[in-house]
Amino acid sequence: MRQLWAKYKYRFLVFISVFGPATIAAIADNDAAGVATYSLAGAKFGYSILFILLFVTVLLAITQEMGVRTAAITGKGLGDLIRERHGVRVAFLVFLLLLIANMGSIIANFSALKTVAHMFNLPVIPLVIIVIVAAFLFISKGDYKTNQRIFLFGTILYLSYIISAFKTFPDWGKAITSLVTPVEIKLSKEFIFASIAVLGTTITPWGQFFVNSFVVDKKIQPEKLKYSQLETYFGAFLTDFFSFFMIVATASTLFVHKISLISGEEAALAIRPFAGELASILFGLGLLNAAIMGIIIISLTTSYAFSEFFGFSGSLDDPYERGRFFYTLFLLQLIVAALFVIFPFISLFKIVFFTQSLNAVLLPIIFYFLLKITNNKDLMGSYTNSKDRNYIVIASSVIIIFASIFVLISSIFKL
């Protein structure tokens, strides 16, 4: 044992030193919208939808790895690269789309926060204010290390879904077989839709931007790329490991008892009669945690992108004075989103719908840039996509792009 430790000690320490960004970026893809979608899918299609998870995990790992690789090799974020290679006009347009889409996603997360507040009988407005103030203080005062620790702690809180799932006493055998073999899948229009929705909430434009910026901010050196890539795969696995339990929890209760959900946020309350008080509370707390993680990370993504596109200093390690645009934009997004949720003068449902459509437009654009960058020898040197990998990456991108366009068109024509 000691010999083994001595042999791998160095590698283990390097791994720990780069650990963080990829895992956090992947986990953040399970924001409140993600949790809601998984709950809904589990309630409607039961264990059969689990089959899609394996596929989502692979796609998530592949796309996030591209982001980690470009960030570590070039030392630049996606925003930097788009601005430098495509000029002001393209950069401005992409930033504008990202800003609006992210705003919508933050509103969706605040709205989930509101639902949880109602569930636990907490006053909404004070809770929202506390979240905003605390988030702003930690982001603006804390350095990268502190914030990374807080995010990793948030990651651990997803464990509540595991306990919650165990409390529902699911049929584990069936769950695991469904994961690897297509059991009881009825290829209906709804099933395809749900699969695409799951894919769409997990692989997002902001997720691609965030992983780049967050790796750059950690200043990971090219020679440690191997370890970061390893972490990316681990992060993708962990994300869908938690998703597995979310689906299991609703599948073994709501699906089995044929109870339909109107929205995913209500899943925590709906499982109470079958799984008991503790499972319900844990499920709710999980959603609360996911919403807060989502709010902070998506808002942070826009701030990073703004700094990159327009060249301002933007790092969690910056003192407030130097990074004031970065921090102000972070705060501003939280306040505006909170106002939308507290005073819902536009239907939240419409906002969420609009955000999904916008994300569907943005995602192909981002993959276009990402593929161009990862195949550019000037930028990536010997780290360009290898031929085999390029086929996989292009195939995955095409699948994601088709999926998002499919959702967009079908929602426009209300199929």
Partner: protein, 403 residues
């Protein structure tokens, strides 16, 4: 001055209206004087061709080349405008991110060279073709918005070749700059600091720099120098400037310095000072038109219609910033050549010939003749305009004196 955002994508023709392609990029010399040497044109077959700037005939709605032009290649020490500067991150000496290069200003008088980089949001709006409308909207607000430049003198040309736009604020490198640039830079630091920098320069260069400083600053600098150094610098700078500086000092110090001058210089300066007994203030008129740098041409036109009807003399329009300091000038002819929506700061002349209240009338006349100007603005220590002196009043005064 033109912006690169206005040039990029312009159609290129030869003099006899044969289409060549569209302008894609420019090539410049990465040196202290960033001269633009070549144009990169995307021709009609989508190939990139390089044409030396010597074949450029004129730039207006389109770019016109000479009839027979040769192609060229990138040579040593040359860089691309788009690839090496535009949109790049600007960092300071410590590597902190400052802002990005939003646009590039190109000086188009006496050859083409890079004047500086625009780092303001206006640089972005210009690419989006939203600059004019935004400027119009903002003019309803009481705050002043305008383009913000980083002078070429502040950028490390060497770092550009390494793909970095790095600022330099280091004393050792200052000597390679132009005296005008250095003067601008020195005016922003305090006098003790400026003195320290001037000490490491050679005397001729230092004198050039001092000659380019404003009178207020010159006076405080001379207070820091010992008499020998003062005398040396006075000998090196333009006699007109020298008299201006000397007249702003106390009489005792002035006389001490003049005693130290070489004989020939002493005579010249003394003669000039004797002339200065007539204060320019008596010839001063406040009948002049002042506008702001971000006024539009049509706004200036209407101002001329409303405010200058009573004027007996009208030859130049002066541009003042929000501190009322004189920052530019242009004539009615310059104005008529512009489009209605053009902005003043884009076509005004920034290099202004000025005089002070202490300037002798004879020197004022000399300056008018030398620069072919029919009126000169008189400014005070803070560069604020006090009035103008016109050639009519000056000649009238001289005629009377002859009688």
């Amino acid at each position: 001055m033109i912006y690169f955002s206005e040039l990029k994508g312009k159609k290129v023709y030869t003099k006899d209206q044969v289409g060549v392609g569209t302008l894609e990029d420019l090539i410049f010399l990465a040196s202290e004087t960033p001269k633009i040497t070549k144009l990169i044109i995307r021709d009609l077959k989508e190939n990139k061709i390089i044409v030396p700037i010597e074949y450029l005939n004129k730039i207006n709605r389109n770019i016109t080349l000479e009839k027979d032009f040769n192609l060229s290649e990138l040579s040593e020490n040359e860089l691309y405008l788009v690839k090496n500067i535009l949109d790049k991150q600007i960092i300071d000496l410590k590597g902190n991110k400052i802002v990005r290069v939003n646009d590039i200003a190109i000086q188009d008088k006496d050859g083409f060279y890079i004047a500086g980089v625009d780092i303001s949001p206006f640089g972005i709006l210009r690419w989006l073709r939203l600059e004019k409308i935004t400027a119009k909207l903002l003019s309803f607000f009481p705050f002043a918005f305008s383009a913000e430049f980083l002078s070429w003198a502040d950028i490390h040309p060497l770092e550009l070749t390494r793909g970095q736009v790095k600022l330099k604020k280091e004393e050792k490198r200052l000597e390679k700059l132009f005296p005008e640039d250095l003067a601008d830079y020195l005016e922003k630091t305090n006098v003790t600091n400026a003195n320290k920098i001037l000490k490491i320069l050679d005397e001729k260069f230092a004198a050039d720099v001092i000659g380019n400083l404003n009178i207020n600053y010159q006076t405080s600098l001379f207070k820091q120098f010992n008499l020998d150094r003062c005398a040396k610098i006075i000998t090196l700078i333009d006699p007109d400037e020298a008299v201006d500086v000397l007249l702003a000092m106390s009489q005792k110090k002035r006389e001490q310095i003049i005693e130290l001058l070489p004989d020939l210089k002493k005579k010249e300066i003394k003669a000039l000072i004797r002339l200065s007994r007539t204060p320019i203030g008596e010839l001063l008129t406040t009948e002049y038109l002042a506008v702001q740098p971000k006024d539009t041409v049509s706004h200036v036109m209407s101002k001329i219609k409303n405010e200058t009807t009573e004027f007996s003399y009208f030859s130049a329009i002066y541009v003042l910033n929000e501190k009322n300091q004189l920052i530019g000038v242009f004539g009615p002819h310059d104005l008529l050549l512009q489009e209605q929506s053009g902005l003043v700061y884009k076509f005004m002349t920034q290099n202004i010939i000025v005089i002070h209240l202490t300037t002798p009338v004879e020197i004022a006349v000399k300056k008018m003749l030398k620069y072919k100007l029919s009126a000169l603005p008189v400014i005070d220590m803070e560069k604020q305009i006090l009035g103008i002196v016109t050639i009519d009043d000056v000649t009238e005064y001289l005629l009377e004196k002859i009688k």
